[in-house]
Every structure is written in C-alpha cells, then in structure tokens.
Symmetry: C2
Subunit: 308 residues, 2 copies
C-alpha cells in the first residue's frame, strides 16, 4: 500500500494546529488545540495523542501516511530533529522530538523551525513561487524569517539562518530579548508597536484597532504604522542590497495593516537599498496566512521522501 | 596542444595588475601599470596591449592560454561580461568587455566584480578554504564583499549580491555615494576614517600613521580604530545572525590596523549577534592580500573551463 497522506503540524505559543493533507498538499481536515494549558513533556504527549486520534477518526492505516511534519517556534536541529528551546513554551530544552515521536508513532517525522517551514510553504504554494531568491518575513510577537536562495531553503551552518528579527538596525537602541541591542524585533515586534500605541493614545489599544484607525486616516495611528514600516524597511533594505533578492514575502499578524505598511516599506527600500537591487525586488504579501505552517510542515515530509 | 596557462587581471582605480599563472594558480609573472592616466576606451586598448605584450614576451602561443580572467571595481553582468559602470574609473558605462577583448585577442575572457573575484580567491586558496558559508569583506575607499554559501559564490539575481558596504547600519546618518543613507561604507570607508582622524588630530594624517599611533597606544588613534571596528562589527553581526556564517574574512588596506580592529570586531559580534550564530563564526584576516585579485580572476577562468 503506498502512502497517500501527510500529517502537518504547526506548534505555536498559543495553538497547536494539526492537519491531514493529501500528497498534493490539499488540506483534508484541520484541528486546533490550545497549547497554553500544556508545557514540556505533557505537550509532547498531547501531540502524540492528537496524531493517534486523527488517524483513528479517519480510519487510516499507518502505512497510508507518508510522514508527520512539524514546525516549532524556536531554534531547531533539522537533521537530528532536536528542538533546542522554545522561547514562548516553557520546559522545552534540547527535546529530541523526532526520535520521541517516531518511537511512539512508528511513522517518519520531520521537525523544523516555524519560520523556515512557512518559507517553504510560500515558496512551494504561495506568492514566492515564481522567484529564486526570496526572504520570507513573519511579523508577530517575534519577527522570524526564512531565506530561499537559488530555489533552495538556505539553512546556514546550524540551521539558524533567516533570523531577520535580530538584525541590528541601529548602533544603539533598545535591548532585545535575544541579548542583543537595537534588533529589528525590538522596534517592530507586536509588543513594541502596542507599547507605542498605548503611549500615543494614552489608553489600552489592540493592533487590530490601530490598523482600523489608520485605515480611517487617524493621524496618530498612521504615524505608528509608518514608523514601524520605516524600521522594517531599513532592515529589508540591507537584505535587498546584500542578497540581491528577487522578492520579499511578508506575513503574520502585523502584515494585516495592509497598504499603509507595505507602501512605506517599499518607499524605504527604494530610498535605502542600492539601485540595481531595489529595482529588482518585489515586495509581496504572504498568501497562505494561517495555513502556511501546516502546509510547510507537510512539504518537509514530501521533500524528505523525495530524497529517498 | 593543451592550455597550460591563465592570464589573471585585476583592474583597480589606481593600478592594472596583469599576471601569468599556471593552471594550478601559481603566479609565474606579474606586472603593474598605472591606470590613472587612461580612461574609457583608451584603458581597454591598454589592457589588450598589455595582454599581447605578456604573451609575446613569454614566447607563448594563444592555444597555450586557457583564458583571461579580469576583475573590475564595479557592478558587472558576469554571464554576458558587461561592465555596468565603474565608480572610480571615468568613461565606463555598459562596456561589453568580454566581447571586445575576445574579438581582439581570440582568447576566452571572463569578467566579474572585484570583490567577488577576491572572495573566490580566499575561498579557493586563502583563509576561507575550510568553510562552506563565508562572507569576504574588502576594506578600502569602497567597502566591498562577496558571499560564499554552500561552498559556491552566491551572486543574487543581478550578480549584485555581497554589497556589504551599502548595508544601512542606522535609521539615520551620513549620506552615501550610492544614494543611500547611513551605509556601512559611509562610516568605515578610508575617506571617512581619515576625516575623523584629521578632525581629532587637527592635522593631515594617513591611515598608516593612524595604525602606527594606535599600535603604540595613542588614545586618540585607538578611539578612531575602535569606533571604526564597532561600526563594522554591527554590520557583520547582522550578517552573522541572518546568514549563520561559518567565517568572515576581512581584507584590504584598513585590515592592516590588525588586532586593534579585529579584537573590537569580534567583541561587537559576540555582543550583538544571536548566540548560536556568534559562537559559530570565525573572524579571519584575508591571506592573499595584493594577489587576491589576479588569483581570483584566474579562478574565474578555471571554473568556466571546468563547466565545459
């Protein structure tokens, strides 16, 4: 019996998304669990349980499943399937996730960092599809990234490449969670944007409301988005200049601010990047949104199977 | 008769270096001409004449020459052999250097940007040899770079990748020759260092003297080198974080400032880059110095011949 299905999992700080996909990456079913209630070993058991349940509820045989792919929000040894740590999920340190899951499930498992997984999804099925050299950026509490170079995911020596959120954009500036100073994330991470918004409006305000206000022309809200986009644009200008990229794909919650954000990012790149590179690069919105993680996780499985 | 020799040429704003190399990249002879006296078409004729003279003086036949490689100080279309322009040599705009030279010489010619050529040399024969993912930086009037990723020169979509000199290192800052703002080069290019030195010492002072003074512990001189290294370190921290590099190789005139510069660059990277990436990267001095350009140009020829 040849394998027809792939299980794609997107582990986040808030949700665990688990999906059954066809080999052509079509999503057959998707389930979302809250991860806030579980930490460390408990969460691994929840993942195993969720996979077993999915297989049972669909009446599948394990031989029908090509593999399980899983994207996790932290640094990962992709080859060995070890999760080094997860900044937003307590109790994960050097977890041999691939080994643990393979032993308990008897199915092949692939593990990788979530930003890389999302980049694979945008490159294979999303808006980065036509391009060879692409930076995919995800904006959220953290700012992550994945780089496709010469039509392949570029991992770097320790699978740690792509960390655009921790590119310094100033000589001096705010201290970042990573230990660095003036990292992009410490200017455009959700919390920083919200801090600036609260300071400006002198009341609690969500990013959704901030986007809505900006779209209606509210000056204070527009100013905050433009400052955010300008910081992001400076960081991306550097990447455009040094990597001579074909495209940058931007996704994640903050990207929902839409044209206000994108127009200013584009303007900044035209001003700050070298002219040949600035003329070349396309700045695009991510296409896959919420499903990028599960689709990318399934691609990990397909790519690995393709090697054999 | 099989080709035994390669001609390697390094065209600079001041000098034209022309060398005869064996196929194993050993330099057999080297000649240096002043380029200041020639511009535009005249310089192309000088190059042709110099090559013809070299062949004649050595009693060689054209069939004995595998090809001519030439590195030029500006943006280049490597595949078509077109030099887009040379910021420091007047009269070069969209020069079809490969075609012109091949027609006049009847020898195969390869043309590329000088920073890329030097990176090839350091990667093949210099201090970058053991590493797979390397950024090579050349410090001078301009600040150039070449990137080796996965053991191959990474060119980007328009052969414009590697322009580390034009990475913005601040939101705002000095205007750069490239049209950008706060580019690395506008902090650490030779002219900027000298400007700071003249201001500090209130007299004319060369970079050689500045290095000498620093090595003897002169505080003003030390401060200037440390500021320079700190700016360079911030830019390189970004590259280390995003590209998860194995090594950075630094060459060019300013690198002669030695440990004062290198120590501060290393310290800055440890402070500013993400920890996994910072622990991985080695910061090395370029090995090939003045000969990097001619050796790298010869490698262009060898690599091209290897493809066929």
């Amino acid at each position: 019996m040849s394998a027809k299905f792939i299980i794609g999992i997107d582990l986040g700080g808030t949700n665990l998304k688990i999906a059954l996909l066809a080999k052509n990456l079509r999503i057959i079913s998707k389930n979302v669990l809250n991860t806030r209630d579980f930490s460390g070993k408990k969460l691994v058991s929840v993942i195993v349980f969720a996979i077993e349940e999915l297989i049972k509820s669909r009446g599948l045989k394990k031989e029908e499943i090509l593999g399980v792919g899983i994207g996790v929000p932290g640094p990962t040894d992709h080859q060995k399937g070890i999760v080094h740590f997860l900044p937003n999920i307590p109790g994960w340190r050097e977890v041999r996730l691939k080994n643990i899951l393979e032993q308990r499930l008897k199915i092949k498992v692939q593990v990788d960092n979530d930003a890389k997984v999302m980049s694979l999804a945008e490159y294979n099925c999303g808006n980065a599809r036509k391009y060879q050299n692409v930076l995919c950026v995800t904006l959220g509490t953290g700012v992550g990234g994945g780089i496709i170079l010469g039509s392949r995911l570029y991992r770097g020596k320790d699978n740690a490449a792509g960390e655009i959120g921790h590119l310094p954009i100033n000589d001096a500036g705010p201290r970042c969670n990573c230990g660095g100073v003036a990292c992009l994330e410490s200017y455009v991470g959700n919390r920083r944007i919200q801090e600036r918004a609260i300071k400006s409006f002198k009341r609690n305000i969500t990013l959704e409301e901030l986007s809505l206000l900006a779209s209606r022309g509210n000056r204070k809200a527009l100013k905050i988005w433009q400052e955010t986009a300008s910081h992001l644009g400076v960081a991306l200008s550097g990447m455009v200049t040094v990597l001579n990229l074909d495209a940058i794909v931007i996704g994640g919650g903050v990207a929902a601010a839409g044209d206000i954000l994108f127009d200013k990012v584009k303007e900044t790149i035209q001003k700050r990047a070298m002219s040949v590179q600035a003329r070349r690069v396309k700045i695009l919105k991510a296409k896959l949104g919420n499903n990028a993680g599960i689709v990318g996780a399934a691609i990990l499985v397909k790519d690995e199977a393709g090697k054999n």
